[in-house]
């Protein structure tokens, strides 16, 4: 007797589900493919500003890429090499400098909201002196490029073979927030390995492995 209700519920549910799925049907992808993933970061760091406008080389910050499996997230200290002096956007600092000049006083330290987070993490106060109350603590950057636990990718091998960062990571220098550019799927890796074996990398002959154990161990 209750079957009509059950059937109605089932049909409505299916329709509803179908409508929901229809929207994303065009963007269907394999499970585990997070292409386009662009999580919000604890500090709104702009690669566009640093890598494009300021032309800072990728490996200036990600210095382990050439010698380690991981490219590495730069330490707070690496940021401080510049941000010891650059504490706010250029415009704001310029305005303050002109104002100080006009008022014949020493310019005050202007700290932008985003850089404040860096200084907090480094345990520095408003004058960029070690703070008595705030201990240094790591910045919890959110990882963008995640590979499954059974895959071992080695930056070192690729960087030293001449693969550019952009080849996999895309035009990071144009990204305000970094997003995953490639699918990072096995097929994508293997196609590139096949291609490089046939055509080399930037004209240089290489011998990329197609063995499973090149990445899976």
């Amino acid at each position: 007797m209750r079957q009509p209700y059950l059937t109605t519920a089932l049909v409505v549910g299916l329709l509803f589900g179908g409508v929901l799925l229809a929207g994303s049907a065009l963007r269907l992808r394999l499970p585990g493919n997070h292409q386009g993933y662009a999580p919000e970061q604890p500090i709104a760091f702009s690669h566009r500003l640093h890598a494009d406008e300021l032309q800072i080389h990728c490996q200036y910050c990600h210095s382990a890429a050439g010698e380690s499996r991981h490219a590495g997230i730069p330490s707070g200290e690496a940021c401080m090499r510049c941000h010891k002096f650059v504490t706010a956007p250029f415009g704001a600092m310029q305005t303050e400098a002109q104002a100080a000049d006009a008022e014949k006083r020493k310019p005050r330290t202007i700290v932008s909201d985003e850089l404040r987070k860096l200084y907090d993490a480094m345990g520095l106060d408003d004058n960029l002196e070690p703070s008595a109350t705030q201990k240094p603590r790591p910045i919890p950057w959110v990882r963008v490029h995640n590979l499954p636990d059974f895959v071992y990718f080695d930056h070192r091998a690729h960087v030293n073979a001449g693969v550019t960062c952009q080849h996999c990571h895309g035009p990071v220098e144009s990204m305000q927030t970094v997003e995953q550019f490639s699918t990072l799927s096995m097929g994508w890796c293997v196609n590139c390995h096949r291609d490089a074996a046939a055509n080399g990398i930037q004209g240089k002959a290489v011998s990329p492995s197609l063995d499973c154990a090149a990445c899976h161990y």
């Binding site: 585990g32 997070h34 999580p39 382990a64 050439g66 010698e67 380690s68 499996r69 991981h70 590495g72 997230i73 730069p74 330490s75 707070g76 200290e77 690496a78 993490a121 480094m122 345990g123 240094p136 603590r137 790591p138 910045i139 919890p140 950057w141 959110v142 990882r143 995640n146 499954p148 636990d149 059974f150 895959v151 071992y152 080695d154 070192r156 091998a157 030293n160 073979a161 011998s207 492995s209 197609l210 063995d211 499973c212 154990a213 090149a214 899976h216 161990y217």
Partner: protein
């Protein structure tokens, strides 16, 4: 004569019961229908739920500061000194992202020469142990260091001038700790530092006091000996400094590389027939130097299992046989007046005559060692050594060992002082007096009457439980320290990580209590500046000297020690020698658990003993004949009673090769807190606990120990053994993964497989390929010659059975490197242990007195791999470099591959071996996948290291050098039995090993073409002596 129940024709066998065709292992309870349905239901719902999970957000905490030593993802090695036991081996600790992960041997170290034992490598598990004490305790409650120090200072101030203050430690060769303790005790008129070892060699030192005038432990030079005679000393397993001795022993037995003899274009390697036995070898007849090793022992030790000739001897008869041997050597030396020993020994006169003349011919190159903790016996050894000109040659008393220096007389005196209430303050470091010493229970009671008891134990042991204050020592991997294992060899220990808790180095604690204070680094540095630096001339600046020491891990300086001369020997010791009486119980350390300190280490608990192959238990081993007489079978719980009423109940295990009047029990079990392992391994419907009826892992045998004759007696006579009727299943792996064809399925008339091959030195001299089986197996081609041309690298490994001692260091190396899980006793009993390497131990010869061959067995990386052809999902495939790859993410767990593997080396993950202990997880290697339930795994030939080596060579733009890639098992092997490399590189060590005439493949007749080769074992004995 063969035993009447010997029904098989196999030359090599693994257990007496299996040889007799009996089913040795008790049947396991099967899964019932209800259980199966329940489990299936749960599994289905869990899988359904698991599918709904969203990928978690991963946080990458960036470092705040750049430090030189931390490069994310890059491992670095630091030189340090192992703290696993008193031997003080050199060690390289691999540190990755600020945490030590893998302990490896230090090739440059003069003692350990690149090897590291299982215990040394497993200490990461003790570092990342939840139950290691993290801070001081006062009356069982957490306290601060300042509070505890103040209360200890107040208690010390109350001690009257006559009050006895005792510091008890295990033997320590650390110059800084010794200084700190001495400085602390200076304040007290009656202050003494007592060194007590849970397994003592006190008698050797006492005997040298008698014959040389100073308590000294000589340094044994097994590498300089042509003839080694050991009376019960397990120097390859547990005695004093096993890694040092194993390396030295091997260096005296290394055989040169010899190619197969080719004659008339025919390959002679396949057959050792008479026609080419005398043919001129390509390399000529070589008289390869190889030491002759004779072992007299009461139980089957690892060392005995490697001896060329092994004699069973009652432990009470050691002295008698020694005095007979001494008598003969003295006669050869022309020494008059040596009294004739009274009783006649059980060893035949012919054997003793031959041995005496062999020793005499090799005087200056002979070494006699004895493991008995008995002063008269050791004095006989000293006199024999003197006659054989061993002092200064194979025995060094002028740069002596300082590894063990415990004095049992002082320990006994301490126990008496405790009983009489004389002790006003007691400090105990690194030793469990209550658990490990004779009269431990009485000591526990006496401790409650001592006004101040301070324990420096790293975890709650029986002594710390009876102490008022517990001031935990820091783990050796997390603090500075030092050692001087051999006089003049200063070895440094440096911290590998930030301390995980608030523990404090014992050095710092004693400095704090003596009022001088100081950090452990400043104290160690000061010692080195004042003690080590002036004794050398190489460096003139201390900072440079120190920096070099930190970098190298050790410094050799002059031995600041008085030279000794032989003073003579009292012949009454010969008269004291007697025959053994009744059934004796022998208490011995176990290779995996050399002392109770390591009982909390799950890796070591699950390491199969190299001889019995038992995990997670100690037991009483009985000879087959004694077991028959008592009507005892394996796993029967028996009670042991010695006159004075101590009764122990342990499961029995029948051990071929043991003396018929001996029951042997391992010490160091039944340790407080091991109830934590009750639920180790997977918990499921049919799962059973890992602990025994006492709630602990194993039974403590120390209550059987007694003081007597100024030493701790590890042998007790006249033990009564009775069956209790109960049974306790021992988890032994000795019959697991058996690669011989079982008798019931073997085709009629089939011959046993030639899995292990051995020969004698004489035959080897005649023909380097001697010992090869007569059957010649024609190679029938490759399965995939076109697919796998092996143009680049082709990885291979060779294992020298002549070098392998079976010590099992490689098992732990592999476990640490490859995240091999611990499964618990019950799972081991179900044949589900996960070790990627196993060491097959084969007996050969007589049932009661067999010879032994150890054979490490792991994935053979076959070129024609049977596993690869049956995998329905291509999860196990061949690599272009000859590796048999296991792809975890493809595997669906059909287990076809394991069934088709002729070597039985594949391991299936029956469960998720839960990793919920966040601290223990710090020991996981981040470069190797942690496998999940339902997939197959096996030896990968450390492909992670291969990749690392190749990528690193490419990064540096240099060709990949031979030896640049070392597998984990190869790295730690104390005897360098394992060679790994690129077979395609003609100049490599592996190519040489593979072309050696001794090389053979296991199950060659299957034509699976393994990449692992074995080098035949060679015994320096006749076929009869060595059971070849």
């Amino acid at each position: 004569m063969t035993a009447p129940h010997d029904t098989t024709t196999a030359k090599y066998w693994k257990s007496p019961a299996a040889r007799a065709g009996l089913r040795e292992e008790p049947p396991l309870p099967g899964v019932n229908r209800r259980g199966f349905l329940e489990a299936a239901g749960f599994a289905t719902s869990l899988v359904a739920l698991g599918g709904c999970q969203r990928a978690p957000t991963t946080i990458v905490p960036a470092l705040t500061n750049d430090t030189d030593n931390v490069r994310p993802g890059r491992a670095r090695s630091f030189a340090t000194t192992c703290g696993g036991c008193a031997a003080g081996c050199g060690m390289l600790a691999t540190v990755r992202d600020g945490r030590p992960l893998k302990m490896e041997g230090m090739p440059e170290h003069p003692l350990s020469r690149g090897g590291l034992c299982a215990v040394g490598q497993a200490q990461v598990m003790e570092l990342y142990d939840q139950e290691r004490l993290r801070g001081p305790l006062a009356a069982g409650k957490a306290a601060t260091w300042s509070e505890v120090d103040a209360r200890i200072a107040a208690a010390l101030a109350k001690i009257p001038a006559s009050g006895a203050v005792r510091v008890v430690t295990t033997s320590t060769s650390s110059p800084t700790l010794r200084r700190a303790i001495a400085a602390f005790l200076k304040r007290f008129p009656d202050g003494r530092h007592v060194e007590a070892d849970s397994v003592s060699v006190s008698a050797i030192l006492d005997a040298h006091a008698a014959t040389h005038g100073a308590r000294r432990l000589p340094r044994y030079r097994f590498d300089k000996a042509n003839v080694i005679v050991s009376f019960g000393a397990d120097f390859l397993g547990t005695w004093i400094s096993p890694v040092e001795f194993a390396a030295a022993w091997k260096s005296g037995r290394a055989l040169p590389h010899r190619e197969v003899v080719h004659e008339h274009g025919a390959e002679a390697g396949g057959a050792a027939d008479a026609s080419n036995a005398h043919a001129p070898a390509k390399t000529g007849r070589t008289d390869a130097a190889m030491s002759h090793h004779v072992q007299f022992e009461s139980r089957m030790t690892l060392t005995g299992s490697n001896a060329d000739v092994r004699h069973r001897l009652h432990p009470g008869e050691m002295g008698l046989v020694l005095s007979h041997l001494l008598h003969r050597v003295a006669r050869l030396a022309g020494e008059s007046g040596s009294p004739t020993p009274l009783a006649s020994p059980s060893i035949s006169a012919a054997v003793l005559d031959a041995l005496a003349s062999r020793l005499w011919e090799n005087r200056g190159k002979a070494l006699v060692v004895c493991g008995a903790n008995d002063v008269p016996t050791q004095t006989l050894v000293n006199h024999l050594s003197q006659l054989l000109d061993a002092y200064g040659n194979t025995l060094d008393v002028d740069r002596p060992s300082q590894q063990l220096r415990g004095d049992d007389r002082e320990t006994e005196a301490l126990a008496e002082e405790l009983a009489s209430g004389k002790v006003a303050a007691l400090f105990v470091a690194d030793i469990d007096l209550v658990h490990d010493f004779p009269g431990g229970e009485a000591i526990a009671k006496d401790l409650s009457r001592v006004p101040l008891v301070v324990s420096l134990a790293t975890r709650m042991d029986d002594t710390s439980a009876a102490s008022r204050f517990v001031c935990p020592d820091e783990h050796p991997l997390a603090s500075w320290g030092d050692a001087e294992p051999i006089a003049g060899l200063f070895s440094l220990r440096q911290p590998m990580m930030q301390p995980l808790g608030n523990a404090r180095s014992a050095i710092e604690s004693f400095a704090a209590w003596s009022g001088s204070g100081g950090t452990v680094l400043s104290l160690v540095r000061a010692t080195w500046k004042e003690v080590a630096f002036p004794r050398q001339a190489k460096e003139t600046d201390f900072t440079r000297f120190w920096d070099r020491a930190v970098h190298d891990g050790f410094v050799e300086v002059d031995a600041d020690i008085e030279k000794l001369a032989y003073r003579g020997f009292d012949p009454q010791y010969v008269a004291a020698a007697a025959t053994g009486k009744g059934v004796a119980v022998v208490l011995h350390p176990q290779i995996a658990i050399p002392s109770s300190r390591h009982a909390h280490n799950p890796w070591l608990q699950e390491l199969p003993d190299p001889i019995t192959k038992i995990t997670w238990d100690n037991c009483v081993t009985l000879s087959p004949r004694l077991a028959r007489e008592l009507g005892v079978a394996d796993n029967d719980v028996v009670s042991l009673k010695i006159g004075d009423g101590v009764v122990l109940e342990l499961p029995a295990f029948i051990q071929p090769g043991q003396h018929d009047d001996v029951a042997a029990i391992a010490l160091g079990y039944g340790v407080r807190g091991t109830d934590r392992f009750a639920r180790v391994g997977p918990q499921w419907l049919e799962g059973r606990s890992t602990v025994g009826v006492n709630g602990l892992v194993g039974v403590n045998a120390a209550p059987l120990l007694r003081f007597g004759g100024g030493v701790v007696q590890y042998v007790r006579d006249n033990v009564q053994i009775a069956k209790t009727g109960r049974r306790h299943t021992l988890a032994t792996t000795q019959l697991h993964d058996h690669i011989e064809v079982p008798a019931n399925v073997a085709p009629p008339g089939s011959k046993p497989r030639d899995i292990v091959q051995e020969t004698t030195l004489d035959e080897y001299h005649q023909n380097p390929a001697a010992g090869a089986p007569h059957a010649h197996h024609a190679a029938e081609g490759e399965l995939w010659p076109d697919d796998h041309p092996y143009n680049g690298h082709r990885w291979g490994m060779a294992i020298d059975l002549n070098a392998c001692s079976g010590c099992s260091a490689c098992l732990i190396a592999c476990q640490a490197e490859n995240n091999v899980p611990v499964v618990g006793r019950d799972e081991v009993a179900r044949h589900r242990e996960m070790h990627w390497i196993r060491i097959d131990r084969y007996y050969t010869g007589d049932d009661d007195d067999p010879a032994v061959v150890h054979q490490p067995m792991m994935c053979q990386h076959c070129a024609n791999a049977p596993c690869e052809t049956v995998c329905p999902v291509l999860a196990t495939v061949h690599s272009s470099e000859g590796l048999n790859q296991q792809v975890y993410n493809r595997c669906v767990g059909t287990r076809y591959c394991a069934n088709n593997c002729p070597y039985k080396v594949r391991r299936f993950n029956w469960f998720d071996y839960v990793h919920d202990d966040a601290l223990a997880n710090l020991a996981l290697n981040p470069d190797v996948t942690v496998r999940m339930r339902g997939i197959m795994e096996k030896c990968s030939l450390c492909v992670k290291r291969i990749q690392e080596g190749k990528i690193e060579a490419r990064r540096l733009g240099i060709p990949l050098a031979d030896g640049a890639i070392r597998t984990a098992c190869q790295q730690s092997c104390p005897t360098n039995a394992i060679v790994f490399g690129d077979v395609n590189d003609a100049d490599s060590a592996i190519a040489r090993a593979m072309s050696d005439a001794r090389r053979y493949s296991v199950l060659e007749e299957l034509n699976v073409r393994p990449s692992i080769g074995y080098l035949r074992k060679v015994r320096n004995a006749t076929r009869e002596e060595g059971d070849v």
